[in-house]
Amino acid sequence: MEPRLQLTGVTKRFTMHLQGGVRLPVVAGVEFAVAAGECVALAGPSGAGKSSVLKMIFGNYRCDAGQILVQHDGEPVDVARADARAILELRRTTVGYVSQFLRAVPRVAAIDVVAEPLLAAGVGREIARARAGDLLARLDVPERLWALPPATFSGGEQQRVNIARGFLPDLPILLLDEPTASLDAANRTIVMDLINEKKKCGTAIASIVHDDDVRAHTADRVIDITRFAANSACSGEVDTGSPIRTCARDVR
């Protein structure tokens, strides 16, 4: 049985043109696979390149070398070489991503934020919203908040909306970047349950979790990203976004 997700020789570096073209190697030769129903956790200190790897799988970051094979409609597709249309298609049908922070469109109600990926997949509006509501309730987001845009929510509430959005559709591959970071113990448990339910459904999951407890309860394997470290010139990865934006701001 083919692994749902397979990385081979994946290498990434940033070239900072605004800083005289300095090259920031991030990772080199990353190699691992995730099978259906498996949860693989990426571990390593801050800046090791864990988020970058997830973003490369999602097509959000480019990949300088190597292959990222994703099973799509029974065929392997190399995300590293796929064009824009292909990646959009993959995101619609195969690969889901729960980022660290909710990037919410202004003015859209929380329940519609959550329902959106289902709507994009062709599910009817009423059903999508009903399911979104169920998941939000389960994640302890009170109903009075559902009609409000998440921009005014607390960090924890925003993250739970983000999680609901990521977990609602049935995508074969799910990428989780620190899903429990801003949650209390009770909500962490709910998320762990959700992850395990997804695993039982056969979803292949690659996650980044700092909390040892969560990792212990969800990950089948742990991959130490520092194994694939390339030589560093500066701290490389920053949590709030790509190094290009933050380092360049420092220059100014």
Partner: protein
């Protein structure tokens, strides 16, 4: 991948010179149904020239634009007769101007503005024309009670929304937008962007949006094309180009956004 559907709009080596002055050079891309392409750049980047070339308002110095008509046949737009071009503009295409006054009849009622395209393609039932206009005003969040007011008495944001309604009433497949939120107040912009986003998804519109505002590009588009000095610097998936810019100019552009 998905079923092999043909591209809706194809630009091949589009080039425009104004005398010796370069407008844009060698722009090529394919746009598929339901895809939104943002063309970003600063003043003088050639993005507006490109939009005008694509919408046949300018003739290219070199290259061509091809469009798949409703009957499925892909035609070189330079081969269309004036009548065909006008018909296309009135039915299958929309063009949203930065200044709403350019895209509206300012002295004619909002209802007539929205109904004009319908009447131009043969609608002859006043009640139905008016009913459709009411529906569209509602959809772009203009109070239908204002249907008989001319856009002269509308605010800037309302005018822009009316322009959108006027363009979408014949259910075009492709919409060109030139800085659709330019000159509007921030809260008005947010509302408009939200509306556009909703409509584009709901109607499965393909769109080419020219903007200097990267936030607009990020919110509305699937793909992005960065232009400078008439050349395409970088193009690709919007979030990829904005989060992992490769070219020096793109990196400069992305890093220049002031944090909110």
């Amino acid at each position: 991948m998905s079923a092999p559907d043909a591209p809706l709009l194809l630009a091949e080596g589009l080039t425009k010179y104004y005398g010796r002055q370069l407008g844009c050079r060698d722009v090529s891309f394919s746009l598929y149904p339901g895809e939104v392409l943002a063309v970003v750049g600063e003043s003088g980047s050639g993005k507006t020239t490109l939009l005008q070339l694509l919408s046949t308002q300018l003739l290219p110095s070199a290259g061509c634009v091809r469009y798949r008509m409703r009957d499925g046949v892909t035609r070189d737009l330079a081969d269309l007769s004036e009548a065909e071009r006008r018909f296309l503009f009135r039915t299958d295409w929309g063009y949203v101007h930065q200044d709403a006054a350019l895209g509206l009849r300012m002295n004619v009622s909002a209802g007539a503005n929205v109904g004009e395209r319908l009447m131009a393609v043969g609608w002859r039932h006043y009640g139905r024309i008016r009913g459709t206009a009411v529906q569209w005003l509602d959809r772009v969040e203009i109070d239908p009670d204002r249907i008989d007011d001319p856009p002269l008495v509308y605010s800037g944001g309302m005018r822009q929304r009316l322009q959108i309604a006027r363009n979408l009433v014949t259910q075009p497949r492709l919409v060109f937008m030139d800085e659709p939120t330019g000159g509007l107040d921030v809260s008005v912009q947010a509302r408009l962007l939200d509306l556009l986003r909703g409509l584009v998804t709901e109607l499965g519109l393909a769109a080419v949006i020219v903007t200097h505002d990267l936030a607009v590009a990020r919110l509305l588009s699937h793909r992005i094309m960065v232009m400078k000095g008439g050349e395409v610097i970088e193009q690709g998936l919007t979030d990829q180009v904005l989060d992992d810019p490769r070219e020096p100019y793109t990196q400069l552009l992305v890093s220049s956004i002031l944090p909110a």
